[in-house]
Structure formats: C-alpha cells, structure tokens
C-alpha cells in the first residue's frame, strides 16, 4: 500500500498497515521461556529487598522471580496477583525505571537491573493464558459496596472486596471498563486488547456487577449511593483537562492529548486515524510523550514536545524521554506557548523562552514559532466536578492513608485522590488498601 507520509494538514493513512503493525507492536515483548530463565537467574533473592519497597503494591519480587526460576510461573503469578490484581497490566505499563528496577541492587552495581517488569509479565501471562483465576471468595457477608469508576483503582478495590465476601456494584460512566488502561495507556504498551481481557479475567472472582453508562453527578448522587450501599469507594480518576488559556485554543486541531489517545486506543483501524504532518505537543509528562510518540508512529513528519521548564524537571522518566527521542520526537525545553497562529485555521504555535527568576518561572521577550497543523495539549488533568460534601486537598479529594475521605462511609483512591503518583500501580495499591479498610470497617460494624 502506498504511504502518504508528506500529505499536508491532518490526514489519515500516512503509513501502511505493515508499518502500523510494526510501529505499534509490544514495547517490551514477552520473553521466550529460555530468556525468562536467564533473566530470572540474575536475581539475587535479596533480603528485605529494596525492589519490594519501591513497588507501590509491594509485590514480593524476589519470591516470584525465584518461583519463575524453579519452573513454577503459575505460583509466581499468584505471588504477584495477591498484592496487585492488575499485575499483568502493571508489568506492561509501570515506569519500572523509576520504581522497582531503579531500586534493584544490580542497577546500582552494574547499571543493569533485573528486568522485573518483563519477568512479571512472563508469570502473569503464563497463568492468564490458562484462564485460571487463582482466588476464591470468602463466605458472603451480605454487605454491599458501591464503587465509582471501573479504572485500576475501582477494579482493585472491587476485587479485594469481592474476595472478602462483599457484593460490589461498579458505576462506570463510559460504555467500557478499564479506565485509562483502556483509554489512556500507549497502544504499544497494552497490545492485543489486553485491558479488556484482564478485566474479564478479574471479574471471574464473582460478586462484581458493572453498570455501564452510569455517572456520578449525572443522575447518580453520592447521597443515594450512601443510602443504597454499606460503603462507597470513589475511583473516578481525573475527568477534566487543564486549558492553555490562549486565544485560538478552540481551533479544530488544537486538542487534548488524552482525547486523541483515547480515539487512538479505540480506533479499529489505525491507518484511518488522521494525524498532522507537523505536530506540536505541549507538556512534559507521560501523556505528552505518549501523544508525541504515537503521532510519530502514525506517520507525522515533525513532532515536537515543548515543555516550559528544563528537561530534568519533566515528569516523564528519562526512559520515556529517550524513547521519544529514539522515535524521532524533538524535545524543546524552557519555552511556553504564547500564541496560536493561523486566524482560526491552525498554522503554528508561538512560544516564548522562559527563565527562572527567584524560583519563579517567567516568560522572556524572545519568541519563536513552530509550524503546526495539529497541537496536543498535555498540560495535566484535573478532577472533574465532585460532590460538594467532600473536602479537597489542593485539587484532589482529601484522603487519609487508608483512603478515608472527609465523609464517613466514603473512601477514595487512584488519580482522583490526593497523595501518591498518578500511576496505574499506585491506583491499584490505593484501591486495594481502601478495600481492606472498608472490609475492616464493615466487619466491625456487624
């Protein structure tokens, strides 16, 4: 098939199906069995291992790797899933370079950590390929819990509650579950519809009902959930996005990076997904990198990430930055957007260089304009409207360390709750821990 690499404007079919398939294949492919053995053999089975401490869900990493090494990957998977029910997804999307693998003693010693993430994938894939769900429910407690949002936080919470014998109803605004696993994570991290497969596998525990198309705040109120259920967990993530506050922002091709990625993740045929020839991404986090890299993979000719501070301040990890640069994305730092060019039909973005003065970022007079026919805004997400009764901490729901909000009987976790990084694995940890506290609370109440 012909490639339309240099078609101007925002156009579909820039690269062939074959290129799409190659570009969007697994970033960290599964190990062949022998590779897994060699990788597992490198683990020292450290005492009180630093990698465990660095994992937000505290997976017993030396144990599961030893279980792989001794030919029992199924047991390894159980070790992982006991702590982190989305261990399969986390193996694919965790920025291990800033979590477990950064803490690995072999990273310090040789700059080459044990490949914990890929080993985790090897174990969980082995078990899930057998369609085995290793957990069973405790005797029914007769208690019911409402969970808002079927993202990582909500699912982890629901699963742990179901294990303890509670009945859970998840209210999910969208028509599909998984949260950002389904709509946000880069396509080359979660291939072959893994998010939905994992969701189906998770629900095998039983006792979890998902009601799709039901949004808190739209016909569903917190007070009604409180009166209909014994406890409520909020895991609705961050529904809103920050705005640039620039004139021309409403122009057609200036869009939220998250929305673009969601379209990309849901696209049946990526050759039909339009992308600009010249793309500018504004932001410095994982979302910016994912939008930029995926634009490039769709065939955009020039892709530039522009970040207002220095490169070292980017919240995307060094690994993610390198990945972007490897794929041919240019990263421009210390520049902030000051104008959208083109009089309503986008032609470029003007940036001003920034400087730190007395610890404050200020815009200088020196400007430059990058030609662009598509601009992605990736300058952070915000909490969408939340029930008034909830106290906020900054711009997120205030919670204590087990996820209790300011309202009795209501817990929250994941991106919508204050504290912790906005990561899949952190959402899982918070959902799980809130479930344990809900369980303890409900047990105490009966």
């Amino acid at each position: 098939m012909t490639e339309h690499l240099r078609a101007s404007g925002v156009a579909a079919g820039r690269v062939s199906q074959d290129s799409i398939d190659a570009n969007f294949s697994d970033l960290h492919p599964a190990y062949a069995p022998h590779e897994a053995m060699v990788a597992a053999d490198r683990c020292y089975f450290c005492h009180d291992a630093p990698c465990i401490t660095a994992c937000p869900t505290a997976i017993d990493i030396p144990l599961f790797i030893r279980q792989i090494a001794t030919g029992t990957s199924e047991a390894a998977a159980e070790t992982i899933l006991e702590q982190n029910i989305l261990g399969g997804m986390c193996a694919r999307v965790c920025p291990t370079e800033t979590l477990c693998e950064q803490a690995c003693v072999r990273e310090a010693a040789e700059g080459k950590p044990v490949e914990i993430g890929r080993l985790q994938r090897h174990a969980t894939d082995t078990l899930m390929a057998q369609d085995v769900h290793p957990f069973t429910r405790a005797d029914a407690t007769g208690k019911t819990v409402a969970v808002v949002g079927a993202g990582p936080a909500g699912l982890a919470c629901a699963h742990r509650l179901a294990m303890h014998g509670h009945d859970v109803v998840i209210f999910e605004a969208r028509a599909k579950g998984g949260g950002l696993n389904e709509f946000g994570i880069a396509a080359y991290k979660s291939t072959e519809d893994f998010a939905q497969k994992e969701l189906d596998w998770l629900l095998q525990i039983g006792g979890i009902e998902i009601r799709y198309g039901q949004a808190l705040g739209e016909g569903l109120s917190l007070t009604s959930l409180q009166s209909d259920f014994d406890a409520v967990f909020l895991g609705m993530g961050l529904g809103g996005v920050n705005a640039l506050a620039l004139e021309g922002e409403e122009t057609d091709h200036v869009i939220d990076a998250v929305a673009f990625i969601a379209d990309l993740r849901q696209a049946e045929d990526l050759t039909a997904l339009p992308v600009g020839r010249r793309v500018v991404v504004i932001g410095g986090g994982m979302t910016a990198v994912d939008a930029a890299v995926q634009s490039k993979l769709l065939g955009a000719e020039d892709v530039t990430i522009v970040y207002r501070r220095g490169q070292e301040a980017m919240s995307a990890s060094k690994y993610e930055q390198d990945l972007a640069q490897q794929k041919g994305v240019r990263i421009v730092c210390n520049a902030a957007p000051v104008g959208i060019e083109g009089n309503g039909s986008l032609s470029g973005v003007t940036f001003a260089y920034t400087e730190a003065q007395d610890g404050k970022l200020v815009v200088t007079d020196e400007t430059f304009t990058l030609p662009a026919d598509q601009v992605f805004k990736a300058i952070g997400q915000t909490l969408a409207e939340t029930p008034e009764a909830l106290k906020l901490d900054g711009r997120k729901i205030s919670v204590d360390d087990v996820g209790r909000t300011s309202v009795a009987g209501v817990w929250a976790g994941g991106d919508c709750a204050a504290g912790g990084d906005d990561l899949t694995v952190t959402a899982v940890a918070e959902g799980r821990d809130a479930a344990l506290d809900i369980h303890a609370t409900l047990a105490g109440a009966s």
């Binding site: 022998h34 001794t70 029992t72």
Partner: protein
C-alpha cells in the same frame, strides 16, 4: 490443594521441609524466625556433652565454589558442633517447642562413644519436649579426630552399638544421620537398622578441599597460613546424596526404613526428587545459609503446585515413586535404541556438539561448509553428550526408534522385546533364554 503435612517416623510437621542441624538451627533466635518463615521442622545444631563446650576457629570457616555469576554451587565448612553450653541450648529448645507445638523439633546429639555418655544425656534432652533424636555420626572434621562423628559413622559396628544404647534409653524416635565418607552406604544404613533406628538421614558433609590459595600455598578456608579438609555441601553434592538415598531405598533389607533426605536441596524440585527416591522428608542447610529462611516459601508453593498438577494429594503419595525404576546397569534394556536429532530451526551453529562428538565421542555429527550440523545415524551411539553440551535447550533431542525400525549403525532391526546384559550373547555368564 495438596496437603503437605508429613508424618516422618511418627513425627508430624506441617510440611516436609526441615532445617538440617547446622548454624541455621543453632539457637532460639534463629529457630523462632525459621518457624515464622514457615519451616516445618528443625534439627537443632548438634549438642555435645555437658562441660566446657567445643571451640571453633576464629577465622574463616567456609570455602566455596561459584558459578560465573557468583551463584554459590558448593560450600565447605570446618565448623564443629554447638559451641554453646548444653543447658543454654536445652532451655532454649524447651521454650521454642512450647511455643511451636505443631513443628518438629529434633535434637541432634554427638557424645563420646561410651554407653554412659549416651544414656545419661538423652533423658536430659528429652525433657525439652523434643520430638526425637538425630545421632550425628557424620561430622567429618574436628569431631572425628576425637573419636566422634564420622569416626563412628564409618564403622558399622559402632553405629549399631550406639543406636542400640539410644533405643534402650528413649521411647522417642531415633534417626541416625549417616556420613557419605564411606565406600558403600548400605553398611552403615543396615547397621542403623540392626541397632533399632527408626530412620536414617543423609548425607552429612563430604571430605573436601574447595580450593588452594596459590599465593600462600594453603588450602581454603585458610587459618593463619594453614587449612584443613572441611565438609562439602550445597547444590554440588545433591547427585551424591540422591544416589545414596536411592541405594538405601531399593536395597531389600533396608527398603522401607524412613529416610530424611539431605544434601543440596535448594528448590522444591530438589525436594521432590529426594522424595521420589524414597525420602519421607528433606532437610536443608546450605540453601537457607545462602538465601535466608524465606526460600521455604518457594519450596512450599512449588511442591504444592507440582503435586496439584500431578494429582498427588499427600506427600506420602510421592514417597519412593521413582525407586522401582532405579536398577543395576545389567538390567537396562539393550534393545532400547535412540538417536540424536538436531532441530535446524533452533540450532545457532556454535559447533559445540560437533567438537564434543568429533573430538571425544563417536564422530557422528557432520559439519558442512556453511555450518550445518547433522547427526549421522550410522555412527550415532546415542550417548547424548551433544544434548548436554548444546547451549540451546531442547535443540538436540533423543528420538526413540520404534520396534521394527533399522538401526543404521548396527544394521539390525530394533526388537520389540527388551533384552539386557544378563541374556546378552557377549556375556559369558548369560542365562540364554532357550
């Protein structure tokens, strides 16, 4: 879920994994932590008689052999029995057993080869509430020079005599721990049985020198310029231990005697192998010393998973399953013919199989100009050396020729009926089937 509960010569423990008598079981602090970690039982560090305890060297007591990535493969030690006062050990054992009634606590004992010494100490130790005794006839260094340990274990008459004294003194189970530093393990095992032992455990450590320091010209571990042979243990000794366990399990007069398998148990699989060869449980020392108590979690999860997969409900169901298949060379079927097969898809063309076969075996692998390696069936004797040197797992496999197929090397047709050396025409004492 498989039930790992094991009853070994009347002593029940929640799993078949015991810590062997050694530093891991040296004191209350260790043993409590071991039980918390999940170990099914411990054999306490060997107790000696009352009076001033033995002393250990104050320099290195271990030598080691490693793989290239510093994986510890073999360990050697020159440590003696407990160097702490008897009463201190007894008090600690009493407290531990009281707090962990469901775990096995065995007292390992080594006192001079005198009737009074054994008959005096056993009742005193029994007061701790321990579940049984293990007689240490194995320690190969230090104690042997004093007429104890392997000095007893190498003389079957002594083993029988001391075992009998002990059985006369106590109703608790008596396990005799055997030394591998003998030419035939059946003598000591039979002697233990004749003396009335309830079980044997083996192996203790093997006489060894792990390495020589070429700068100081002294064996390691080196104490002030000198070294001595120590006891070898760890993964490297497992094959030796497995054979000795199997010999006892299949020998008609010792068959059926409970065996506690020791020597290089590092993973659940090692344990399963010992158990398949007739061990009722296993004891572990080096693996715990290398990786800490936590490894028992892998042993437990691995053994349960494997038993579930195999449909074995209890450990007893596995004990001795491989024993009927251990036989003498002369009974191996000479009509069983295999040939090496190289998978060209998996081959990475390193040529190791060729070097091994061409230089040291049967010149049965050909090598083409463009490095294609192929087995020549008319030369292949099926030794499987190539399989073992090939770096790619399952790249070379052994294919069994079906009855009726032609063995190109011998020019004979493969026979359906087995025939072994006892009936082979080349055997002068063959009992030809007429």
């Amino acid at each position: 879920m498989a039930d790992l509960t094991t009853t070994f010569c009347g002593i029940t423990s929640p799993n078949p994994f015991w810590l062997a008598s050694a530093p891991p079981t040296d004191k209350e602090y260790n043993v409590r932590r071991a039980f918390e970690a999940g170990w099914g039982g411990v054999v306490w560090k060997t107790l000696g008689d009352d009076g001033p305890p033995v002393v250990n060297v104050n320099g290195p007591r271990y030598g080691a052999i490693w793989g290239a990535d510093r994986r510890l493969l073999g360990l050697n030690n020159i440590e003696l029995i407990t160097d702490r006062p008897l009463q201190v050990n007894l008090d600690e054992m009493t407290r531990v057993k009281k707090d962990y009634p469901d775990r096995a606590l065995i007292a390992s004992v080594m006192v001079p080869c005198e009737e009074a010494a054994w008959k005096e100490i056993l009742p005193r130790i029994a007061e701790t509430g321990c579940d049984g005794f293990e007689l240490n006839f194995g320690c190969p260094h230090g104690m042997a020079e004093r007429g104890m340990g392997s000095a007893v274990g190498q003389v079957p008459e002594y083993i029988e005599m001391v075992t009998r004294w002990c059985k006369e003194t106590t109703d608790l189970p008596v396990i005799v721990k055997l030394t591998p530093n003998v030419t035939n393990i059946l003598g000591p095992a039979q002697a233990a049985k004749d003396g009335g032992a309830d079980a044997v455990s083996l192996i203790n450590t093997i006489n060894s020198i792990t390495s020589v320091n070429l700068d100081t010209m002294s064996p390691e571990p080196m104490i002030d310029g000198k070294g001595t042979h120590g006891g070898y243990c760890g993964p490297a000794v497992k094959p030796i231990a497995l054979n000795m366990v199997a010999e006892i399990a299949r020998n008609p007069t010792t068959h059926g005697m409970p065996i506690s398998g020791i020597g290089g148990v590092t993973t659940w699989r090692d344990a399963a192998e010992f158990i398949a060869l007739g061990a009722g449980n296993v004891q572990v020392c080096t693996a715990a010393m290398t990786y800490g108590f936590k490894i028992v979690e892998e042993m437990i999860s691995g053994l349960s998973q494997w038993m579930d997969e195999q449909g074995h409900a209890r450990v007893e169901d596995v004990v001795g399953r491989a024993v009927p298949n251990v036989t003498d060379w002369q009974y191996l079927n000479l009509n069983y013919v295999t040939k090496a097969r190289i998978s060209q898809d998996d081959c990475i063309k390193c040529g190791r199989c060729y070097a091994a076969c061409e230089d040291t075996s049967h010149q049965a692998i050909s090598m083409s100009e463009d490095r294609v390696f192929e087995v020549m069936d008319d030369e292949c004797v099926a030794c499987n050396l190539c399989v073992n040197v090939c770096p790619v797992e399952d790249c070379i496999t052994m294919e069994t020729l079906a009855p009726g197929a032609l063995d190109e090397r011998t020019g004979k047709t493969v026979e359906a009926d087995p025939a072994n050396w006892t009936v082979h025409p080349n055997n002068p004492s063959a009992t030809a089937a007429e």
